[in-house]
Symmetry: C2
């Protein structure tokens, strides 16, 4: 299972992914689910992927090697919309080549992607690309997308995240959301890849790989548990 | 959709269910998903149900009217294990009569139940009954069961609920868990049925139907949102 979240805020982008891959309990591996394409100051693209790993890796490979008859790569796109469209075309190309046989072997064709980034002089944008190759864009009212095991980590984002949230607060929310998911679903696991990009910089401000025994993440996890326990204990008692 | 939670604590039982039933956006109704059988001081049984409403109502009807060739009802059982077994048999009887045709019409046979209660002089117990009619029992390490739309409301229970939680605190946690679910999934909705039973009393201590504009529930919901927002803002900033 996978959990990824992408946030598009006034200050910039926060993208986070876990890296647990599993095919049954006896086959658990760690794979990077985040891919970054960066020409600092010129363009930045960050892709998060969930679903069948063979499919999502094939999509990333096509984006590097060439999609369709004219072999277009992410190097050839001229903006975020064009990039999202190419990602959708790559998904459809993999579906045409692998979809039928995957189904014969009882595997679902279920990839999903979050694609965020910016081209110099243009708007920072965030998209979610579906298995059918179509996509939607984040709006000011919906500043985040989640893919994979999304439900456990959603309530805190629904309540606390909005477009004006600072990058620092968004990092805390992403880690709390990730921690809630990992606690409730053991197939989502460390390390976490976390990337921050400031608006208009077109470069990665920070990439952090949070491994086991990361002191800051452990502290967030411990203090969040404490805070939740105190919070509910401070709720008023019912009068009835 | 449905969300129900049952908690077995040192002090007693807390059972809560929403009451939204839907079959598409144009058909939303309110049905009680909680059934209570009580002979005060003698025996108490509380059943929460999720899944296809025709199936879950059929199960409740069989438990009242008679299951199997000998037409046993919940009146005839002599303890909680026997009650859980009868509920499982009722589920199987409905499956045998309706399962094949439901499948032909594209409906899933997906009922699930939480059954809690106590017989005088015996142990208070809590069971989850599956669609196959088999069941599991809550243990000191796993003091709660959820059915239906369980994920949004699970993280707070995973972090804060244990067997020693007081009934009052458990009520707050049940309402917070319910509120988190209703915020993230619009097909789970008010009113909420809430029942409290003290250990060894074999009677309902409190039944509360929480409707729209319930002042206490609104207060819990509002203060919980505030508390979460304050909690994450008080987390330490990363040093990196």
């Amino acid at each position: 299972m996978t959990y990824c979240v992408g946030m598009l805020l006034d200050e910039g982008l926060v993208m986070a992914s876990d890296s647990r891959t599993n095919a049954g309990v006896d086959h658990i591996a760690t794979y990077r689910k985040m891919t970054v394409w960066e020409r600092p100051g010129e363009r930045l693209l960050v892709l998060l992927a969930a679903g069948n790993l063979a499919v999502t890796q094939a999509v990333v490979n096509l984006l590097n090697e060439g999609v369709g008859e004219d072999d277009r790569t992410l190097d050839d796109v001229d903006g975020m919309f064009d990039a999202a469209r190419l990602a959708g075309e790559a998904v459809r190309e993999v579906y045409r080549s692998d979809g039928a046989l995957l189904r014969e072997f009882g595997s679902e064709f279920n990839p999903s992607f979050i694609l965020g980034g910016q081209f110099a002089g243009r708007t920072m944008r965030l998209f979610q690309v579906y298995a059918a190759g179509n996509f939607v864009e984040a709006t000011p009212e919906t500043p985040f997308f989640q893919i994979g095991e999304i439900k456990y980590g959603k309530p805190i984002l629904d309540r606390a995240l909005d477009r004006a949230t600072s990058l620092t607060d968004a990092v805390k929310l992403a880690l709390v959301s990730m921690d809630s998911t990992m606690r409730s679903n053991i197939s989502v696991g460390l390390p976490i890849d976390l990337v921050l990009c400031e608006r208009d910089a077109c470069r990665v401000k920070l990439h952090r790989r949070i491994e086991h025994d990361d002191a800051y993440f452990d502290e967030i996890s411990r203090r969040w548990s404490q805070a939740l326990q105190q919070a509910y204990q401070h709720l008023p008692d019912p009068a009835w």
